[in-house]
Amino acid sequence: MNTAVLRTEARLLAREPGSLFWILVFPPLLLAILGAVPAFREPQDGLDGLRVIDTYVPVAVLVGMIVAGVQSMPTGLTGYREQGILRRMSTTPVRPSALLSAQMLVHALAAALSALLALAVGRLAYDVPLPRQPYGYLLALVLAVLVALALGSVIAAVSRTVKIAGAVGTAVFFPMLFCAGVWLPVQAMPDVLADVVGLTPFGAAAQALNEATAGDWPGWTHLGVMAGWTVVLSVAAARWFRWE
């Protein structure tokens, strides 16, 4: 890891208003808007006494991660390859891998910041309690970030151009949002659907975050599903990635 490259990439991400909005502003904004609906601030029997706004805090946390990992990072990396920026880096003593790891770290940090903002908005604006099992929550968050980055790396690996990366990213984006519970929080899903969604990276992430929020240690199955996907996707990305 080259710190000068990392600083540069952080600066460059800060110059992308589109990425910044969707990663950092949109998830808390989504929460704020949902919370403005009075009915969503009433406890629901179907949600085991939780309010809709309670169930949407983990969803907002995951939305920022999915945007960072699946939309923003792959187009960035593919662009770097397409425009010969990786190649130029190969002529310096700093290898192009420094650029890749910097992109990943910068997006991981942005996703983490987005998660903090979502938790803060939930807590301050709508009195959503902070996770009662913070260590379990943190572990689930870290695994979710890793799996988002691994998925994004696969997209960057299989996409030859920025256009393709954008299209593949969008095609992956919506199913991932669904699994994370954007349309229907996992608590409200029928059991069979929740079980199926639990096998996907962000379905497992949503359930792990919910468990940690409620004060339990997240289920090993959920953590295992995320770790498993991370390993499989990372191996695939490393295998398929082309430097030029």
């Binding site: 460059l12 425009q83 190649r87 130029r88 002529t91 003593p93």
Partner: protein, 300 residues
């Protein structure tokens, strides 16, 4: 003393041979040109020198180092400007220079470098906002910011307007005068003739000729060009029988002969014998352009 040695370099892609036994050495302090038609294998050859590609066979040494096995050491002594390749659109000139300087243990001071390359007033401009000439100058600056002993410039002036091209040529001469060896890849004859101390003409993956620009012109078959408009038609048989003749061309009543000094004398005798006047008679030395066409044709 040679700083680059390439010996019997070979590289093929998918069974198609692109570089087929190229050898040359570049001496310290010279501007060495690699000249050739598109697809001749020029870029692949310098990419092997830069360590971007692994040769199939042959030996490449840069200041005695292997560009693949000792990539990082070579990256400190060799700066490269690539034929294609951009920077991040929103990276400013200053940030790019600082970043690339940070990669090297003993970088050049980037401020005077930017000054010298005419970028001093564009330091806060983003890469995407630079003109074509400014982008090229920035790439030269990035290639030089590590204080390399050798700089490789690949198709540097392609796409530049004539003024920017001339400015860039002057810059390359200044770079050489500061003690840096320059390996220049080009398909512009004028550029190679003006700048290069020696030129390797590469055609179909092989070195077709290696000499000084003047030497290349001298050794080509049609080193002297004679053009005139004859007052009466000339006998084609007698024309083609001229000694040391390399080529004959007719266009709009004008005859162009390429040959040697011997051909000049013979054609004057021939014209006198038939009492034909040669209007607008011009005798000139061939350009590198002519020599190049001659050299790359004979190898095909």
């Amino acid at each position: 003393m040679s700083v680059i040695e390439v010996t019997d370099l070979r590289k093929s892609y998918g069974g198609r041979s692109v570089v087929d036994g190229v050898s040359f050495t570049v001496d310290e302090g010279e501007i060495f040109g690699i000249l050739g038609p598109n697809g001749a294998g020029k870029t692949t050859t310098v990419e092997c020198v830069e360590g971007l590609r692994v040769p199939d066979a042959g030996r490449v040494r840069v200041t005695g180092l292997d560009p693949v096995a000792e990539h990082d050491k070579v990256a400190h002594v060799l700066g490269a400007q690539l034929q294609e390749g951009r920077l991040q659109e929103k990276l400013t000139v200053r940030e790019a220079l600082q970043l690339y300087a940070s990669f090297h243990p003993h970088p050049a001071d980037w401020r005077p470098l930017a000054e010298r390359l005419g970028l001093a007033d564009r330091l806060d401009a983003r890469f995407g906002k630079l003109s074509g000439g400014q982008k090229q100058r920035l790439f030269i600056a990035l290639a030089l910011v590590g204080n390399p002993r050798i700089v490789v410039l690949d198709e540097l002036t392609t796409g530049l307007d004539p003024r920017a091209r001339r400015d860039t040529w002057q810059l390359i001469e200044e770079v050489r005068d500061s003690g840096v060896t320059v390996l220049l890849v080009t398909h512009f004859m004028e550029e190679a003739q003006r700048l290069c101390d020696r030129i390797a003409v590469i055609d179909k993956g092989r070195v077709a000729a290696l000499d000084t620009p003047a030497g290349l012109i001298r050794r080509s078959a049609g080193a002297t060009v004679i053009t005139f408009t004859p007052s009466a038609p000339l006998d084609e048989g007698e024309l083609s029988a001229l000694p040391a003749l390399a080529s004959v061309r007719h266009r709009d009543g004008r005859v162009t002969l390429a040959g040697s000094d011997e051909t000049v004398n013979a054609v004057i005798t021939l014209l006198a014998r038939h009492r034909i006047t040669a209007h607008q008679l011009r005798v000139s030395d061939a350009t590198l352009d002519d020599a190049f066409l001659d050299l790359t044709e004979t190898t095909s």
